[in-house]
């Protein structure tokens, strides 16, 4: 299982990388390689040119700019999981990373790479969507900022132009007092999720839920925000009765069906996981000061 022939390129700067992606035919960007290399080894993907971003050092940073946490595109998942900034300001992301693959894959795999690959069962796109992350991309035409809600277009397809490179992901950190939970159901530890629920609960002054962000992953061709449930919880207290009411529309969720799980089962998982995530998020909200 060896990759087909290609020309290997190693840019040292972002500008070089942009030049390459704009001019090289049938080119693929190589970041962590944990998704691209298996596909190349199996010859599902056969680029003529591979542009290796691993030497573009300017894409490796984690910093805070005001209220935003800015994560460079080449930051490894393992570094995110151990970053004090991420653990402190983005605990939902830190929790989701513990379900993501294995140490060996997180040592190389990148947050941006997972978003661009957009596997329906991947954890990080769900988390980015829950945070309403912003994706910064660069092309010969300059820089643009894409809202995560606009980023997935179809099954494993993003809205990026063929000559765009993601350089940074920006996440507005929730206030210190907030509820969060990432819950997933997978067959084995580290597997892609058959279903997942990512929840953020932002409190109003009176302790009710001012705003809930709920993302369902693994059941559709792309992760999606569960708007009906979010609306149902807005202004309500974080209590079981409201949670149950909020997840009623689960029976109507549009889900994918495949050899691994029928639709009814995926809907059931979505409902169960959202409830569990809401309960955990509510506990954390109540115990936070």
């Amino acid at each position: 299982m060896k990759p087909a022939p290609f020309r290997y390129h190693r840019p040292r700067t972002l500008a070089q990388a942009v030049e390459m992606i704009a001019t090289l035919a049938n080119a693929k960007l190589l970041a962590g390689g944990q998704s691209l290399m298996p596909m190349m080894n199996m010859r599902f993907v056969m680029p003529d040119n591979v542009i290796d971003l691993n030497s573009v050092d300017e894409l490796s940073f984690i910093r805070e700019e005001g209220n935003k946490v800015c994560i460079g595109a080449m930051v490894r998942q393992r570094d995110l999981e151990r970053s004090p900034i991420v653990c402190g300001r983005l605990p939902l992301l830190a929790e989701a990373l513990r379900f993501t693959g294995h140490t060996q894959t997180r040592n190389r795999g990148t947050f941006a790479g997972s978003l661009c690959h957009l596997d329906p069962a991947a954890e990080q796109p769900s988390v980015a969507l829950t945070y309403d992350a912003e994706i910064v991309a660069t092309s010969p035409r300059g820089k643009r900022v894409i809202a995560m809600s606009q980023f997935p277009v179809a099954y494993m397809t993003t809205c990026l132009d063929p000559d765009e490179i993601v350089t940074e992901i920006r996440i507005s950190a929730p206030p210190p007092r907030h509820g969060y939970a990432f819950v997933e159901f997978a067959r084995r530890h580290g597997d892609f999720a058959l279903a997942s629920a990512a929840v953020l609960l932002l409190p109003a002054k009176d302790g009710a839920i001012e705003r809930a962000a709920i993302t369902v992953g693994g059941v559709g061709s792309v992760p999606f925000r569960f708007a009906a449930a979010e609306k149902a919880l807005s202004g309500k207290k974080a209590e079981e009765a409201h949670f149950l009411a909020a997840v009623e529309p689960c029976s109507e969720l549009e889900v994918i069906e495949d050899v691994h799980a029928p639709a009814a089962y995926r809907r059931q998982l979505a409902r169960v996981l959202i409830l569990r995530a809401l309960r955990t998020a509510a506990d954390r909200l109540n115990s936070a000061h």
């Binding site: 299982m1 087909a4 084995r188 597997d191 799980a261 029928p262 089962y265």
Partner: protein, 780 residues
């Protein structure tokens, strides 16, 4: 009689040092200058006619030495097809594979052409340029469907999709059913999966044109058989072919076969006069390496109000796949394994072996026994529920008792010899397992968990395995002139610690440390005959051969030393590479001196006029099997909201007779349990309605990983085997057998209140949820 010095000791393995430190030598580690590499072009259809194969572009690709199809290879061989392994039985003609597909492909992944190039990378590039024109034909995707009158042919060259029908029958089944208080009809579907040793198949063939000799390094379980088949197919003689199994990264049954690829690679090496290597990649293992797969069991059982089985009858349909390379020993095993340790006074089971457009099935670890045992255990649970008895009380009443040993079951093995269980205390084994899992305390644990909204279940099953299959295994033991002890055997090391076990057995007689004994296994150049690794046989057969040979060498060494030292044999002992007077260690001879003396000096008599050499060869003969047993008890938890099963504890009580090395036997038990646990809860080799494989990567086919496995408590009980001087029984597979039955019984127990009835494995969480929904709806 003094205590064993080596037998029964948990000694460290002699294999480990090299394997731990990068000094292992698996086939792909062998570097022969000038080696070319192969890649195969494989069928993308499960059933099709090949109307043309255009290799012109591939032949012109960089680094390519040859691109060959069946017509190119056939002149190298003495037959169209590979030989049938195992003794001929009534079977249709022409059911074994071709070396490369011949005008018709009958499973997705069947090899059509081979590319030989400077590297695997270049070979794969060229393989992508081979153009095959297919005329798709209807594919048979299910073995039950294969037997229906309107089923299309899985192979147009065969007259029928039914490869064979046979029966296992004894006793008066009719009378049993007539007189029974209770009767039930139960249908089961079982599915085991792929072997997936971590090292796939691999072969390196070197036809030395100077000496006209072929050396084949083969990741195989059957070196001598492969040698024999190649000798026949290539028109050579035994002296011209050496097959050697180097370090082998696991087999689990899938390397107990000679495959088309091995034939092609050796033939090509001869054609090109160059070494040629083929290393299977994981996708090829999914497509073209044998598996076990589906069986449908339709059983009627008759039983009394006391829960005792009176008779069983029915039909089993077995998915043989597209070819039958190794006869029908797999479905035969399964059919004779049905009773297991339980008394079945009358049995009448018809077996239908059906062809499908999938890769062939032959035994994978457990060899058909787990599927059969699953059915028996499900039947016993049904009986318990019907008559209102505890599940294990029912089993106690049906178990064969120790006073019945040796117990003739009424069934016959494929050789025709009756199946007789030689030793074992099954009730004691079961009681031991129940105590270890604290069965008595379980109802309280279950109740407490239910108060927390959690669903615990407990299950237990017991199975037996015929081990130590004959007809023989070979061993040669020698002390050479340097004083070094060697054990040479036709048995094959595939990771199970064979060399350590054999060294311990030899050491027991010759008094040297096992690590100082050189064990050469699986090399046809070192010993002329052998059978190899399968059916949990090598400690019994190979171990006994080594034992007999070692005893003979010991006796000879004592006699020779007695002559040389002028001391009575009874006053001598073998210790640390010397033969010395007991109590007077400095009065003795070293093995080197003995070996040199026994090699002979021209003009002088040998000591005691003994025959020359300190060596003895023995082929240990065996015509009966010795029956090992295992009980598996499981406590688990089911989450009814998701169908997730969490295993809390597993107990394995294992009888493999006298234990040579408790560490390695425990390792075999745990490995067996985890393999079949995988088959029960995680692994599923999926095909669609066109018989296309749909699970072809490790991301889709789930092998259990460490977090899913609970601690497994292993209890070894020893009931010596009766067919060999060591009293050993095989240990490599027994603990596989009861796993599906125990786990599924436990899941059903956990979900009792939902009315769930389970008649299949594997079980995914989605399927458990589906069964729960049906149970809730009242469809039991």
């Amino acid at each position: 009689m003094s205590a064993s010095k080596f037998i029964g000791q948990p000694l460290p393995r002699v294999e480990d040092g090299a394997l731990l430190s990068g000094a292992g030598r698996y086939v792909d580690d062998i570097h022969l200058p000038g080696t070319l590499e192969a890649a195969f072009v494989r069928s993308s259809f499960a059933h099709a006619r090949i109307t043309s194969v255009d290799t012109s572009a591939a032949r012109a690709a960089p680094g390519v030495h040859a691109v060959l199809t069946y017509d190119d290879i056939r002149p190298q061989l003495t037959a169209d097809r590979l030989p049938l392994e195992l003794r001929p039985e009534p079977l249709p003609p022409n059911i074994t594979p071709f070396p490369l597909a011949n005008k018709e492909v009958v499973f997705a992944g069947e090899a059509i052409a081979v590319v030989i190039a400077e590297s695997r990378y270049l070979a794969e590039d060229a393989a992508g340029l081979v153009e095959v024109d297919y005329e798709p034909l209807p594919a048979v995707a299910d073995c039950l469907a294969a037997t229906l009158p309107d089923a299309p042919p899985a192979d147009t060259r065969q007259a029928s999709n039914i490869v064979k029908e046979f029966r296992q029958a004894y006793g008066n089944v009719g009378a049993a059913f007539d007189s029974a208080k209770h009767r039930a009809s139960l249908h089961f579907k079982t599915h085991r999966g792929c072997a997936h040793p971590m090292e796939g198949r691999a072969v390196l063939a070197h036809f030395d044109t100077i000496e006209d000799r072929l050396t084949v390094w083969d990741s195989t379980q059957e070196s001598h058989d492969v040698r024999g088949f190649l000798v026949h197919l290539l028109g050579l003689n035994d002296n011209q072919v050496r097959v050697v199994a180097p370090d082998v990264g696991g087999g689990f049954g899938c390397k107990h076969l000679m495959y088309p690829e091995e034939v092609v690679i050796t033939a090509v090496s001869r054609m090109l006069g160059r070494p040629v290597k083929w290393i299977e990649d994981r996708r090829e293992h999914f497509l073209a390496t044998i598996q076990e797969r589906d069986q449908y069991w339709e059983l009627d059982i008759a039983f009394g109000g006391d829960g005792k089985l009176l008779g069983m009858r029915g039909r089993m349909i077995h998915d043989q796949g597209a070819y039958t390379p190794r006869g029908t020993n797999l479905p035969t095993n399964a059919s004779t394994a049905l009773p297991g340790p339980y008394l079945v006074p009358a049995l009448d089971l018809k077996v239908v072996v059906a062809e499908t457009n999938k890769v062939a099935t032959i035994p994978v670890r457990g060899a058909g026994y787990p599927s059969a045992n699953f059915c028996m255990e499900r039947c016993l649970d049904h009986i318990a529920r019907t008559v209102g008895l505890d599940r294990y009380e029912v089993r106690r009443r049906n178990l064969i008792k120790p006073e019945m040993m040796p117990f003739q079951t009424g069934l016959a093995a494929r050789s025709g010899s009756p199946i007789i269980y030689d030793s074992g205390d099954y009730p004691k084994m079961m009681a031991t397992a129940l105590e270890a899992i604290d069965y008595e305390g379980f109802p309280e644990r279950q109740r407490q968990a239910r108060e927390q909204g959690r669903y615990l279940g407990i299950g237990m099953a017991m199975g037996l395995k015929g081990t130590g299959r004959g007809p023989f295994e070979s061993a040669s033991v020698r002390i050479d002139r340097s004083g070094k002890v060697s054990v040479i055997t036709g048995a094959v090391a595939i990771g199970q610690g064979l060399k350590t076990a054999l060294a311990q057995i030899c050491a027991e007689q010759l008094g040297v440390q096992p690590k100082d004994i050189a064990v050469i296994a699986g090399d046809t150049g070192a010993i002329s005959m052998g059978l190899g690794a399968f059916a949990s046989r090598q400690t019994v057969m190979g171990g006994s051969a080594v034992h007999v040979a070692s005893v003979a060498v010991r006796e000879k060494a004592l006699k020779a030393a007695s002559e040389m030292l002028e001391v009575g044999v009874d006053d001598l002992e073998l210790q640390d590479g010397r033969v010395q007077v007991q109590g007077v260690p400095n009065l003795g001879v070293s093995f080197a001196e003995l070996g040199t003396a026994m090699a002979g000096v021209p003009g002088y008599k040998l000591p005691g006029e003994l025959p020359p050499g300190l060596e003895h060869s023995h082929n240990f003969l065996g015509t009966s099997l010795t029956y090992a047993g295992a009980v598996i008890a499981v406590e688990l938890e089911v989450d009814p909201e998701t169908g997730h099963v969490k295993l809390h504890k597993i107990v394995a009580v294992n009888d493999s007779g006298v234990v040579i090395n408790p560490n390695t036997v425990r390792g075999q038990v745990i490995g067996s349990v985890v393999h079949t646990l995988g088959n029960t809860l995680y692994e599923w080799m999926g095909y669609d309605e066109q018989a296309q494989p749909v699970t072809t990567t490790f991301a889709e086919y789930l092998i259990p990983t460490a977090p899913e496995i609970p601690r497994i408590e292993v209890i070894l009980l020893e009931y010596p085997g009766k067919n060999n001087p060591l009293g050993v029984k095989g240990a490599g597979e027994t603990a596989c057998i009861p796993v599906p039955g125990a786990i599924v019984s436990a899941i059903e127990n956990a979900l009792e209140s939902f009315g769930v009835r389970i008649a299949e494995f594997p079980l995914s969480p989605a399927r458990i949820f589906e069964l729960l929904s049906q149970g809730r709806a009242g469809n039991a």
